[in-house]
């Protein structure tokens, strides 16, 4: 019983740690930056093809996570 309580507390603290605005915004920012780099890099046409989807994903994510609590 106490083991279950410990597990759920651990899960809650992990969720509290990860589901905050700061780290989520950092992830979204990284995805946007990766998308823009993919759009302009001269090495792979495949990366260029996926750049728009990546940037869009990052931008949508940023818009959503900027509403998450601090």
């Amino acid at each position: 019983m106490s083991l279950d309580a410990n597990r759920s507390a651990l899960r809650r603290s992990l969720a509290d740690g990860l589901l905050r605005r700061g780290p989520l915004e950092a992830v979204a920012t990284t995805i946007i930056a990766a998308g823009v780099v993919m759009l302009m890099q001269p090495f792979s046409l495949t990366l260029y093809s996926w750049s728009f989807a990546t940037t869009l994903l990052g931008t949508v994510m940023f818009t959503i996570v900027s509403k998450v609590r601090e």
Partner: protein
């Protein structure tokens, strides 16, 4: 006399207002009044910002051509997006844009920060030098584009003569705007000349925000000037430098006017940045649907970068 007549006019108008109307206006809540005041702004914003954006998104999924408004509009789905994102020519335009953005931002940041560092020393006559350095930024891009076209003239241009003076080459032996290898650098030089002062201003704001007592404490600890620069000046000015980098990056990503005036994307397509490709597709080939999709791709990229910019701005503000 005038005041009297004005006040009497107001009193007359107040007397003419029907009591019912006056009561109705007085009875409005603060919230309703606030909405009443901001509604025109919201309507204007919807009309000139949101509606064109939504309309462009719609057009990007169709075969619409602006020069054939009566032709039947067919829904194409994401065909234009697929076409743009697999087109090697558009990819090449993106690489030209990348060359332009990366080199202008790097050179502007290095020179701008260096100038800000010097101006911050407050030497004799620093005010007049600041004004002189800021002059290019105050000019219109159209003016800058035109007079740099003259400066780059191989026969009469001052730029070629200066290069010839320092290198010993014949002034008319090279063309900055007509040469495939030199033209991408020609547009970089003009942008650096014009926008370095802007980066300098932002960096100067960063340098002036560093409190003197930190340097005084470093002096007490006998830190060298070099150590002070790397441990105090650079880290504390970094958010401002980042702001300048992001701002110039976003601006140059959508650069159109200056490049269009200087080279028009030529020779060939060596200076064809993304916005020039977009203009050609929209107003020379009249592929409105295709160019709308391209505009949306560029918009999403700039919007994403703007999000990072706002985040950096908030970081600077919180300092």
């Amino acid at each position: 006399m005038n005041e009297l007549s004005a006040s009497s006019r107001i009193a007359y108008r107040a007397a003419m207002v029907r009591p019912g109307v006056a009561r109705r206006i007085r009875g409005l809540s603060d919230r309703t009044l606030a909405w009443l005041f901001i509604t025109p702004t919201i309507v204007l914003l919807l009309a000139i910002n949101i509606f064109p954006l939504l309309w462009t998104i719609y057009l990007s999924f169709t075969n619409y051509r602006a020069n054939r408004p009566n032709a039947p509009v067919i829904w194409l789905g994401a065909d234009w997006y697929q076409s743009i994102l697999t087109d090697p020519d558009v990819w090449a335009a993106m690489q030209v844009t990348a060359h332009f953005v990366i080199w202008t931002v790097v050179i502007e940041t290095v020179i701008g920060f260096g100038l800000a560092f010097l101006i911050d020393k407050k030497f004799r006559g620093h005010g007049i030098w600041t004004t002189i350095i800021l002059l290019p930024m105050m000019l219109s891009p159209a003016v800058v584009g035109n007079f740099w076209t003259f400066l780059y003239q191989p026969q009469i241009g001052l730029f070629n003569y200066v290069v010839a003076f320092f290198t010993g080459r014949d002034a008319s032996s090279f063309q900055m705007l007509g040469d495939v290898k030199l033209s991408p650098w020609a547009i970089v030089i003009v942008d650096v000349w014009m926008w370095t002062p802007y980066v300098m201003l932002i960096c100067l704001a960063g340098l002036r925000s560093i409190p003197d007592y930190i340097y005084e404490a470093a002096e007490v600890d006998r830190a060298s000037k070099w150590r002070q620069f790397w441990s105090i000046t650079l880290p504390m000015a970094l958010p401002f430098i980042m702001l300048a980098v992001l701002f110039r990056g976003i601006e140059n990503f959508k650069m159109f006017d200056m490049v269009n005036l200087l080279t028009g994307g030529g020779p060939g397509s060596t200076t064809e940045v993304a916005s020039i490709t977009l203009k050609r597709a929209a107003f020379e080939s009249w592929r409105t649907g295709y160019s709308s999709a391209f505009a949306i791709i560029l918009f999403v990229s700039v919007f994403g970068l703007a999000n990072i910019y706002v985040k950096a701005l908030n970081k600077v503000k919180s300092r």
